[in-house]
Amino acid sequence: MTAHPYMANSAPDLRQELLDAVGVADPEELFTQIPDDHYMARPLSLPPALASEGELSRHLRRTLSRNVDCEQALSFLGGGVWQHHVPAVCDEIAQRTEFVTSEWGTPASDLGRNQAWFEFASQLGELLELDFVALPVYSWGCAAGHAIRMASRITSRSSVLVPANLDPERMAVIRTYCGFEIAIETVAIDTSGRLDLADLEAKLSEETAAAYFESPGSLGVIETEAERIAALARSAGAETIMGVDPLSLGVLAPPGQLGADIAVGSTQPLGVHMNCGGGAGGFIASRDEERYAREYPTLQVSIAPTAVDGEHGFTMTLFAQTSYGQREHGKDWTGNSVYLWAIVNAVYMSLLGPEGFADLGNLIFARSHYAAARIGELPGASVRWDGFFKEFVVDFERPVTEINAALRERGIFGGGAISEKAALYCVTEVHTEADIDRLVEALAEVTA
């Protein structure tokens, strides 16, 4: 029997050496713990093995080539995963086998990985102007869910206020994380697309653990009253949780400065491909106060001294309060997350630097506003709100499904439907003015 490339001891001589050393004739003799009536009723029936790498590669490439990806098509989809330029260095580091294969390790032997994690948190902390940053959780929705649960424990209160136009995917995750023990109440959106402060004020109560809002909001509009929202929440004894797009923070004021107690958001824009949604990741950050730090369910590393003066390393902090440390008595729960992406995020933030974030923010602002202005000129389309960053809502006279089907025939993925006749368009630095002109020409045809 030919040895399998993934199994060193499948070479016949090696198998025999092991059998001889253990003193059995057949591996079956080692499975005596399993009672006979536990064995499967019929043998496994799986598709035939593709043992040769060439054959397997061909099969995968042939199958996956049936996709149409966002490099082939011109895509304006956003909503929770966004197409951005991924620098080549991010891709190189994401592929480093040392990082890709690392497991738990020790602070010394995986020093490089732990330092990269610390640099993820440190650079994100600079962008957010917040001092305590955890390693990421699965997604923005998961981050918001944990943050709301943290606020509930901190305040001993059990309701949360969220914007009425919150992204439905994130909202569904928040419901799963919080819905059965924390009442989720929505705050109306005013005519400018921002949180209705009168409604917020009316709904803040002694039961409110937190006010959660986003800037830019789920439909792209920048919140201009963040400080006022935080002040209102504070006066009601509630925590302020602010969701942000990290790529906006070169031009928009950071949550730490606006009075947010906890900030959350997606890490995907920071150098991670969309990966069909698998690029998602979420961060949680806060002021570095015990009130918050002692409620984190996450893993995080702290810089720490070593046995040698002047030397430092990085090790887990506040580990004992996690579910690893305390099982059901820990804070929520934790496990594998998206830590490889955290390293990629660190690379991305180092590549951009302060000027890069400012330039990128301005460019995304300019391109998205150019697109909105051009689309707004079309007779069958209008842009609902101004004052946005990266994403904006377009109201059409025809159903979005019809428009998007027609655009698809022209090699364009239109913005995602948010209602029958409204779509959320995402325009970033990857879209040139020529791309946008192409979209507008196509829209002119299909909306006419």
Partner: protein
């Protein structure tokens, strides 16, 4: 000793660079038209570096990461070969540049793979439907807790059945996710054979039982021979039975969770199915269940209609989402590729080789002074891993498992896994050789442990002060849980250092 870890004097990235340098530039754009009140006033204090400086910094950090560059037999995590082909395929735009909200017609290739992989897991487990949305094993356990709630609600028993039963040897995430979903947790202790007794389970079961969440074999390599009876008893009591298949590697190809009676199970694609760990994700906890529970599964689910595939994005009784979108799709593709590379025969052979290699290790390890095995009276061969103890070594020399961990890496051997909390065995360690590692690698691992044990008896200080040939020395974490010391960011560290000096 010939091994030495790479050692670069690599500052924190925030200390690098010089003002004015750039690693990425963008096409020019005018300043965004924003009100002063929301415009960022002070630029973030990020490094200003050239592109090469950034690249080299992170390459240095990667070189100072052991990962699987040496020998890594990290127990419970089933270290496998992470085929390069899969990394190569997943990085290509036909996966990496897909948006999950694209029209199904433009996603036919990836939908077919997700669907086909679900069929493979159905065949391996006997379940009827899998979802890949959970971002890890713990997330799959949480999914089960939420599915259980929805199932109870549909039966009018939510709030009545409010207890989840698990064992002290099940992964902490089972207990933690059940508690996070509002259940009271009942934890069964182990008895002489190394597993909890039927009687203990019977005593715990009642009309308040919502679910059992359990692994088998456990992390000691002990298989609970009464598990079928357990599932029957849980069903008789009116609860659901969830099989945490974290330790699938030793039983794959031999048993099916559904045939044992389980209602749901979970596979970790970043462990058993050859996708990489990434230092802790991106990962997938594939959650599968019976037809009875399918309506409650999170959506989307991939459906097949002839040769077309479509996403079912919602369902009336669904718990909704445990995470945005439909999962870590690249990880699913890698796991599918692994399963196709292995085939049915290869999968069963991997189980054989894993259990064979573990029993080989056990024979050699138990011959080392100071090493003992959990439940010495349980004499049947262990499955794919064995839980050992260095209690005697610690008693004789004062050297602990943590000291030995730190010393192992001096030989290019990744630190062993100890045990989840709580330690039911003193000074525990848990290697798992799996099917990847060669006999030479396994022998190197054992030789290394043998040498360290010998050092511990001859020169315990050498082990206690390890590591000695890493990029840094032993990290002193004694104060990292103190608020005026811990620093998860550079800005916090600088502030606290400043305060300490002042």
């Amino acid at each position: 000793m010939s091994y030495h870890a790479a050692r670069w004097d690599e500052p924190i990235v925030l200390e690098l660079g010089r003002p004015g340098r750039r690693a990425q530039v963008f096409e020019p754009a005018p300043p965004a038209d924003l009100p002063e009140s929301i415009r960022r006033a002070t630029p973030p204090a990020l490094p200003e570096m050239s592109e090469f400086e950034v690249q080299r910094h992170y390459l240095h950090l990667s070189q100072m990461t052991l990962g699987m560059m040496g020998v890594n037999l990290f127990g419970t995590c089933t270290m496998k070969y992470n085929a390069r082909l899969n990394e190569h395929i997943a990085a290509r735009p036909f996966i990496s540049e897909l948006h999950p909200d694209q029209d199904d017609e433009t996603l036919q290739g990836v939908l077919e793979i997700v669907y086909a992989f679900g069929e493979i897991l159905n065949e391996l487990s006997g379940m009827d439907q899998f979802v890949f949305q959970p971002g890890g094993g713990a997330d799959a356990a949480y999914t089960h807790a939420c599915v259980t709630r929805a199932w109870l609600e549909a039966r009018g028993e939510l709030g009545v059945r409010d207890e989840v039963i698990t064992t002290i040897q099940a992964h902490p995430c089972n207990a933690a996710t059940a508690a996070a979903a509002g259940f009271k947790v009942v934890t069964l202790p182990l008895e002489e054979g190394g597993y909890a007794s039927v009687e203990a389970l019977q005593a715990a079961l009642s009309d308040r039982t919502a679910a059992l969440m359990v692994n088998n074999p456990d992390d000691m390599g002990v298989y609970n021979p009464d598990i079928k009876r357990w599932v029957e008893l849980v069903h008789e009591a009116g609860g659901l039975a969830f099989y945490d298949h974290a330790n699938f590697n030793g039983v794959m190809g031999r048993l099916r969770a559904r045939e044992l009676g389980f209602d749901a199970c979970m596979f970790m694609l970043h462990k058993t199915f050859g996708a990489p760990k990434g230092g802790g994700g991106p990962a997938v906890g594939a959650y599968g269940c019976s037809a009875e529970l399918e309506p409650f599964l999170p959506r989307p689910i991939v459906r097949r209609d002839g040769d077309r595939f479509a996403l079912e994005r919602d369902a009336p009784q669904s718990i909704g989402r445990v995470r945005e979108y439909w999962g870590n799709v690249p990880v699913v593709v890698k796991a599918y590729s692994w399963a196709r590379a292995m085939g049915a025969e290869g999968i069963k052979d991997a189980a054989d080789l894993s259990v064979l290699a573990n029993n080989y290790m056990e024979k050699r390890l138990l011959a080392i002074r100071g090493v003992s095995r959990s439940h010495p009276d349980a004499t049947s061969p262990r499955m794919e891993m064995t839980r050992y103890s260095l209690e005697r070594l610690t008693r004789d020399t004062g050297v602990t498992v943590f000291d030995v961990q730190n010393r192992m890496v001096d030989f290019g051997v990744d630190a062993f896994w100890l045990s989840h909390e709580p330690w039911v065995l003193p000074e525990p360690f848990t290697p798992e050789p799996g099917e990847l590692w060669s006999k030479e690698d396994i022998d190197l691992w054992i030789d290394t442990l043998e040498r360290i044990v010998d050092e511990a008896y001859r020169d315990p200080e050498l082990v206690r002060t390890a590591p000695h040939n890493q990029a840094i020395h032993q990290v002193d974490g004694t104060r990292v849980n103190e608020p005026d010391v811990w620093a998860t960011t550079w800005r916090a560290h600088k502030r606290k250092l400043g305060a300490a000096v002042a």
